[in-house]
Symmetry: C2
Subunit: 133 residues, 2 copies
Amino acid sequence: MGKRGEITQEKILSVLKAKGVALSAYDILDELREGSPKIAPPTIYRALKVLVDQGHVHRLESLNAFIASTGKTQDQASIMSICDDCGIVEENVAPKLVNDLSGILGKTGFEAHHHVIEVHGRCASCDDEGAAS
Amino acid sequence: MGKRGEITQEKILSVLKAKGVALSAYDILDELREGSPKIAPPTIYRALKVLVDQGHVHRLESLNAFIASTGKTQDQASIMSICDDCGIVEENVAPKLVNDLSGILGKTGFEAHHHVIEVHGRCASCDDEGAAS
DNA sequence: TGTGTTGCGTTATATTATAACGAAATTTAA
DNA sequence: TTAAATTTCGTTATAATATAACGCAACACA
């Protein structure tokens, strides 16, 4: 079975969890190369695809980056808030809102399969800093 | 004043309106090159930035593509529905939903500046086709 | 062990995007 | 009106993101 691939997945997930921030595929590649110098982009992208499909990792479309899931979002669409100042990304859930969203689009006959909801702005702590200065 | 740039913006906008579908920056580049062979990527990206800032064009983060705004969304966050079958993209507005969304994040002190809401799925007509087959 | 199948690593390349710089247009001040 | 300052644009070059394609290795099953 896909043993080799799973090892890459585990390594990626642990890097993402250790860092706790959004990393690009190439950031991850650089990290993994410290252990296995010959690893190449497709290996990373393939492993990321599995992790994203499984819900262990979220892809941030508006950053072209990836972040470990906190696990809050069990199969639910996640709402990612992204601080443009410090880069911190938080994962949120709002089943009702996502449901409403699908409902609005459903009125035109659209069948929603995957939701990309990413909100850019300023996190509480950067906001305080700004106010304090 | 920036006459040259404005001409590029107009050309891009008219290409996007004529096609009516999402185009990548390089799709647009190819179109414009039929008139002015020497045009280069930064020219396209700069013009697109202005058009997006003005709200005449939407950037689709999950497709790395651009589409002309229908004008429905006056300064409001738009909700883009994207059919993964035929590629059609529709622009929708739902001020209350966006407001709710900002409210949910606001509870954690996050101040929302820009919303990326893109829903992938199947449009009504592709759905019919699937059912009919 | 041989044969089929799947999935992985690797090479190569495609696609998307921007940095940096020089030239042209425009503005400002004399 | 012309010289200096400023802004914007075109251009070259390259960076960053992502995937196609192929061959080999691992496993599955007879």
